[in-house]
């Protein structure tokens, strides 16, 4: 991993791009930046949402959900790569949206993404906390005392909602819902990332030792052993009942927290879990670089919809897994991702929304939509790769 400024993602050091691809990445990042600006509404970044679980096409107000994870950290990545203050300003503007959008009880307004409008979204509020803590790390590194304000906002949510509502003391992990004995590994992993960031920021290891690591033990329990699904992580569980659906995207979302757990604890089980999960994700990759949506036991598979913008998170996770000895060629997926950009700078959400339903159709308009909460994933990865300090980002607008 290449070292980066505090708050930014570590760049994927083993990724080498030819000049043509590097130029395409730069253009894509600038296009996304312009597109994000076009999505500003009162209170933050708005727009419709299309998703596997549900769509939110009518409500298009600002959503303070996981879109802020990729947008804010993506701008920190750009700032780290270029040293240009305007990227930092945009990261800070995103942080200010979250501070202003915190409700009287500590939740964030409209944090449920595809279920918006609503509050208490998982993993969305944890993703917002993570973004705020990364911003605080960056601000502290330059001696800006406003970092305390962002930490206070994140900590209020972490203590009031994540610990206050979702922490299950008996199982020692974070539930997905205070009222239900349920666990969702990828969401718990995002929460763990926020707790690692808080531990790093405060120097208090209990955030990692008492919350993040026990929760990630729960993720390990959900990993499959043997067979064609070896390394896959079950989507969720209710009590002792595992829901045996395996989404490569969500398995990838577990990896960054497991990598941090290994770095924090030195426990080799976390590194092994990362390698096996990454191998599973890679085994599902199709020749064009895309991934199927979901796999089921018995070799059943549903390819649709195949994410485009969201593959940025998969690339980020798989590249990060190189830290524990995993290797792969990211270029096929990078090409798949870049080919999905539209002239307005946004990326298509997916291919095949209409093919999911029985007697489905190929031309579903949801495919062509750009969604802040998917674009952020492309943006964050692209802003962390193919860039170096010699690059000057010139925005023609």
């Amino acid at each position: 991993m290449a070292a980066r400024a505090p708050g930014a993602d570590p760049g994927p050091s083993q990724l080498t791009l030819d000049s043509q691809t590097a130029a395409a990445v730069r253009e894509a990042v600038l296009g996304l930046d312009r597109w994000f600006d076009s999505q500003r509404v009162k209170g933050g970044y708005g727009g419709p949402v299309v998703h596997w679980w549900r769509d939110c096409l009518h409500f298009t107000g600002a959503g303070l959900d996981w879109r802020y994870e990729g947008i804010l950290i993506g701008y920190l990545n750009l700032w780290a790569a270029t040293g240009e203050g305007r990227w930092f300003d945009k990261a800070k503007r995103a942080g200010d949206d979250l501070v202003a959008g915190q409700l009287p009880n500590g939740n964030f307004r409209n944090s449920q993404f595809e279920l918006n409008p609503g509050i208490g979204g998982t993993p969305h509020e944890a993703a917002c906390d993570l973004a705020l803590l990364r911003l605080a790390l960056a601000l502290r590194s330059i001696g800006d005392l406003s970092w305390l304000n962002y930490v206070a906002t994140a900590q209020r949510n972490i203590e009031g909602f994540l610990i206050g509502q979702l922490w299950d003391e008996r199982r020692r992990w974070f539930r997905d819902d205070p009222a239900v004995d349920g666990f969702v590994p990828n969401k718990a992993a995002t929460i763990a990332e926020a707790f690692f960031a808080l531990a790093q920021l405060t120097g208090d290891s209990r955030w990692a030792d008492d919350y993040a690591l026990p929760t990630l033990e729960g993720v390990l329990e959900h990993q499959q052993t043997g067979g064609e699904l070896d390394g896959a992580i079950a989507q969720n569980s209710f009590g002792s009942h595992r829901v045996l659906k395996f989404f490569p995207f969500y398995v990838a979302r577990c990896l960054p927290a497991l990598i941090e757990a290994h770095a924090w604890s030195g426990d080799a089980r976390f590194a092994e879990a990362v390698r096996r999960a990454a191998q599973f994700v890679l085994r599902t990759r199709l020749p064009d670089g895309s991934f199927p949506q979901v796999l089921y036991p018995g070799r059943r598979i549903n390819p649709w919809p195949q994410w485009i913008a969201a593959t940025g998170d998969m690339l980020r996770a798989l590249c990060a897994a190189q830290a524990v000895g995993f290797s792969f060629d990211p270029l096929p997926t990078l090409r798949w991702l870049l080919a999905g950009q539209r002239p307005d700078g946004g990326f298509r959400a997916a291919v095949g929304f209409g093919r999911v339903t029985p007697f489905g159709r190929a031309d579903d308009p949801r495919d062509a939509l750009s969604v802040c909460g998917w674009e952020d994933k492309a943006f964050r990865f692209l802003a962390s790769t193919g860039l170096d300090s010699k690059v000057t980002y010139h925005d023609p607008n």
Partner: protein, 234 residues
């Protein structure tokens, strides 16, 4: 059909409890369609229960005026909703409301005094103003919000009754939509069958199909749990 659960927290306020309640897809779609992102001027709303106020606070970034209703007692004063609002929120009496509004909402009308309220809404509306009415139907008992108290209304008026009341009070009904009608109900049963027979892959496809067929023509309201009616002040 999605669940409608309340996340209890110690010392929680009514508003926070309502805010955390996950809204079922029918109500969510109805409120989304009735409340566009930006409204020209304040919205006048008539709500049959305080819980419904939260659906407005979630969506409306401009001023909201609530017509004074039976539930606005000291214990459930709208003052507790104010810190959660994105703009001004206040209660208005019908006398203050006359001839002022271009956007109006009536959620879960009560059968009692429906004609009087429809007429009062018409007096509050400017010519050409738009009124949305969200009304549950005979299948409402299948909705999570209607499975345990407090219910959204005490004596709910169904869509047919709403249209009749609007027609005689100076409103012109322009369109109607029913939510979760026969097609999506059938797909939801197929989803359950597929899950029961150990085919979650087929179940997921049926669930997608259920969502894709959630909105039905308004004339199907007797076979759907919820309807949305749009009317214009004539």
């Amino acid at each position: 059909m999605s669940i409608n659960r309340v996340i209890p927290i110690a010392g929680d306020t009514l508003v926070a409890g309502c805010y955390r309640r996950e809204t079922s897809l029918e109500y969510s779609l109805a409120f989304d369609l009735a409340l566009p992102a930006s409204l020209a001027g304040p919205l006048l709303a008539v709500l049959s229960a305080p819980e419904l106020t939260v659906e407005l606070l979630k969506r409306v970034t401009g001023p909201i005026h609530l017509a004074v209703c039976e539930w606005m007692k000291p214990s459930t004063s709208i003052a507790q909703f104010v810190p959660w609002a994105q703009s001004d929120l206040k209660a208005v009496r019908w006398q203050e409301a006359a001839g002022s509004y271009t956007q109006l909402l009536w959620a879960e009308p009560e059968a009692q005094a429906a004609s009087e309220i429809a007429a009062a809404l018409r007096r509050a509306a400017l010519p050409g103003a738009t009124l949305y009415v969200i009304a549950s139907g005979p299948l409402r008992r299948w909705l999570p919000a209607w499975q345990r108290p407090p219910f959204p209304a005490q004596q709910p008026l169904n869509a047919g009754g709403v249209v009749a009341a609007l027609n005689v009070t100076g409103w012109e009904v322009e369109s109607r939509i029913a939510f979760h009608g026969p097609r999506s109900i059938a797909w939801s049963w197929m989803y359950r069958l597929a899950e029961a027979f150990g085919r979650p892959d087929l179940g997921d496809r049926c669930l997608f199909a259920m969502r894709a067929t959630y909105q039905e023509p308004g004339w199907l309201w007797p076979l759907a749990p919820l309807a949305l009616i749009r009317a214009r002040a004539s």
